[in-house]
């Protein structure tokens, strides 16, 4: 893959900055750091277009509460609590980090439904991005 192609993949979040072998060299550490600051370090989920940068997540659970799928289908989450272990949810907080569990349940996975941006819009630390 050429550098230009890799750059394109970076912008569409199909690749992470750390996936580039030359960037892993010590003399490129500053460039790698800068790219991570700009682009984050997440990979895009194909179904929803969601990119999660775990390093920025503080586990606040706002994304879980704000998700309209959870609000309509999970009583605990609509009341502010976190989902139970056996609840089927789109996203949950695991070890203080956001984890995308069932992207197929996200309303963005349905191409005919209006696209929803609740989780990324309300994330206070920009740990989530939608492309």
């Amino acid at each position: 893959m050429s550098c230009m192609a890799f750059a394109g993949r970076l912008l569409t979040r199909d690749r992470r900055p750390g996936d580039c072998p030359p960037l892993a060299e010590p003399e490129q550490a500053e460039s790698l750091c800068r790219l991570r600051d700009i682009l984050g370090d997440g990979v895009k989920n194909e179904l929803t277009g969601l990119i999660v940068d775990e390093s920025r997540c503080i586990g606040c659970g706002i994304c879980v509460s704000a998700c309209p799928v959870h609000g309509a289908n999970n009583r605990e989450v609509s009341l502010g609590k976190g989902p139970r272990p056996d609840d089927i949810v789109v996203i949950r907080i695991v070890n203080a980090r956001l984890r995308l569990e069932h992207p197929e349940l996200c309303s963005r996975a349905n191409p005919s439904a209006p696209s929803c941006r609740a989780c990324a819009d309300y994330c206070p630390t920009d740990a989530m991005e939608l492309v």
């Binding site: 586990g59 659970g61 203080a96 995308l100 569990e101 197929e104 209006p114």
Partner: protein
């Protein structure tokens, strides 16, 4: 004036055009799994209804919603046929499992492959993993989140669900095999004797930081201070004194966090940033959670904040004031007297004044350590004025950034000596410096210290007030993180709320009985209450 949407308790599912999703009965969980290619369910987990304590808010009559029915294997999981049909088609085309980067969660933290069998990518083996999920209340901050679930491996926490970064940092010491230096009963007995001799030989002791212990630990701290003729104070004792002085002078309208969730339609954070100190506060109670009169959650609320610095909270606020503390008085005057000529100009001020006029229930969270006397006076006066109008309700809740059991300390102190600021058995009086917001404790006559570490390098010499740095000190460290040279003597203890149980108070003053985490490895550590009681017993 209330919006008509606030009335009533009917809960209608969101229409299709808003969520792309309509709730439909009829699909069983097995059918859903067949379509979505889920793995088999986890082996067992404790029922959520086994949460501890008769003190729990949701068990009080008339509070909160009735318990939802338990979800057994045959419970209906409601999904739209369109969603399932699309998903099934997508999955068949892709030939993937669930179609996402992250596999479905299993209670053991292992991923599930396409054939539904659990794989073990790390090769860590199944035998040592406890498949049960243990429900626990987090004591990382005063939110006391009661929806945390842990899975354990070899007696160590492996995975925590719904736990924020603050709670995760609190249990970080528990996750390592080498939790602390080896502690044997003989070594502990020797340390306790040394501590008793050190404190007794050096004169009046100051027990500082008991606000991070459970109720039994706080009471043991008091007994020790009394036995030594010393003082037992919380860390921000000056701020507590100032706050409760205003309570006595102006009265205090407050509410439970559940009431804030149910009724508040304007939420204020005054010099308090929950995204720095209480990460889940916004999602659990104050902004995003849905309640009786706030059925759409954040869409039925306005959020305002007054802070000195920019931060992540600004992105969520409808009204954000980034002003220095000296301007608090002008802003409060403008809010309290909207018709008077304002000395405060800000683009958000007219909008905020409008939100105040339209609100029926205003919840104001303040960090008393970060506001001055004048601001506290005005806040309480404003609250009293709004409540006396009879049109809207205004409540004030302190949001302490220090001490996970600050409210517990205040409650125990009030119960025993009618003041919330701690105890002084020295008879010399506490010379608090009221002019600089309690950042300096000037105490005459204190000759030794017993510090309770709070896991963030507290107990380190450089964090102590200048007048106390040279005093001999014993450090009680439940986290096992302080190096031994931090004090003349460092005694390791069990972590309250995880390795040992206790009673903690939530930020709104509601007590919770927190048991120890079941299945956690026993390191031979004793509770802080036991350590303090034994030191008192060993005193000459």
């Amino acid at each position: 004036m209330r919006s008509p949407r606030h009335a009533g308790e009917s809960r209608h599912p969101e229409p299709l055009e808003k969520t792309g999703f309509r709730v439909k009965p009829g699909m069983t969980e097995e059918q859903v799994r067949l379509f979505l290619r889920h793995p088999p369910p986890p082996v067992a987990h404790e029922a959520r209804g086994s949460e501890p304590g008769p003190c729990h808010a949701d068990s009080l009559p008339g509070r909160g919603f009735p318990e939802s029915p338990s979800r057994g294997p045959g419970a209906a999981v409601e999904l739209s046929a369109l969603q399932l049909g699309m998903t099934f088609t997508e999955n068949r085309r892709r030939g993937a499992g669930s179609g996402g980067d992250a596999g479905p969660l299993s209670s053991t933290g292992l991923s599930a492959g396409d054939d539904g069998c659990r794989t073990d990518p790390a090769g860590e083996g199944f035998a040592a993993i406890d498949p049960a999920m243990h429900n626990q209340i987090c004591t990382g901050c005063s939110c006391l989140c009661d929806d945390i679930s842990f899975s354990l491996r070899d007696g160590l926490p492996l995975q925590a669900l719904n736990l924020c970064e603050t709670g995760w940092k609190r249990i970080e010491p528990l996750r390592t095999a080498e939790r602390t230096d080896p502690v044997t009963p003989e070594k502990l007995r020797g340390e306790i004797r040394l501590a008793a001799r050190l404190l007794a030989d050096n004169g009046p002791v100051l027990v500082l930081g008991a606000d991070s212990l459970d109720e039994a630990g706080i009471r043991a701290s008091r007994r020790l201070a009394k036995a030594l003729g010393g003082l037992c104070l919380p860390r921000p004792f000056e701020a507590i004194r100032r706050f409760h002085e205003r309570v006595r002078r102006f009265g205090w309208a407050t509410a439970l966090l559940d009431d804030v969730r149910d009724r508040a339609d304007l939420v204020f954070f005054w010099r308090a940033d929950p995204l720095r100190t209480h990460h889940r506060h916004l999602s659990r109670y104050s902004f995003f959670a849905r309640g009786r009169c706030t059925e759409r959650g954040h869409q039925d609320r306005k959020l305002a904040a007054v802070l000195e610095d920019q931060g992540p909270l600004e992105t969520l606020c409808h009204h954000f004031f980034r002003i220095p503390p000296e301007r608090d008085a002008d802003l409060l005057d403008a809010l309290a007297n909207p018709s008077a000529p304002a000395r405060f100009e800000h683009r958000d001020l007219p909008l905020l004044a409008g939100s105040v006029q339209r609100a029926a229930f205003i919840a104001l969270f303040v960090d008393p350590e970060r506001v001055g006397d004048d601001t506290l006076d005005r806040l309480f006066r404003w609250s009293a004025a709004l409540n006396n109008e009879g049109i809207r309700r205004h409540v004030i809740l302190p949001l302490w950034s220090a001490g996970t059991n600050m409210e517990g300390f205040c409650q125990v102190s009030l119960e025993t000596c009618a003041t919330p600021c701690g105890w002084d058995f020295s008879g010399q009086g506490v010379a608090g410096d009221g002019g600089n917001r309690g950042s300096e404790i000037s105490l005459q006559g204190v000759r030794s210290l017993l510090l309770v570490a709070a896991g963030d390098r507290t107990g380190a010499a450089e964090t102590l007030p200048g007048s106390l740095r040279d005093k001999p000190r014993v450090v009680l460290d439940p986290f096992g993180t302080l190096p031994l040279e931090q004090g003349d003597l460092v005694i390791r203890a069990a972590l309250p709320g995880f390795e040992c149980g206790g009673v903690f108070w939530r930020a709104d003053g509601l007590p919770f009985e927190v048991p120890g985490l079941k299945g956690l490895r026993d390191r031979g550590l004793v509770s802080p209450e036991t350590v303090l009681s034994e030191i008192a017993r060993e005193l000459p």
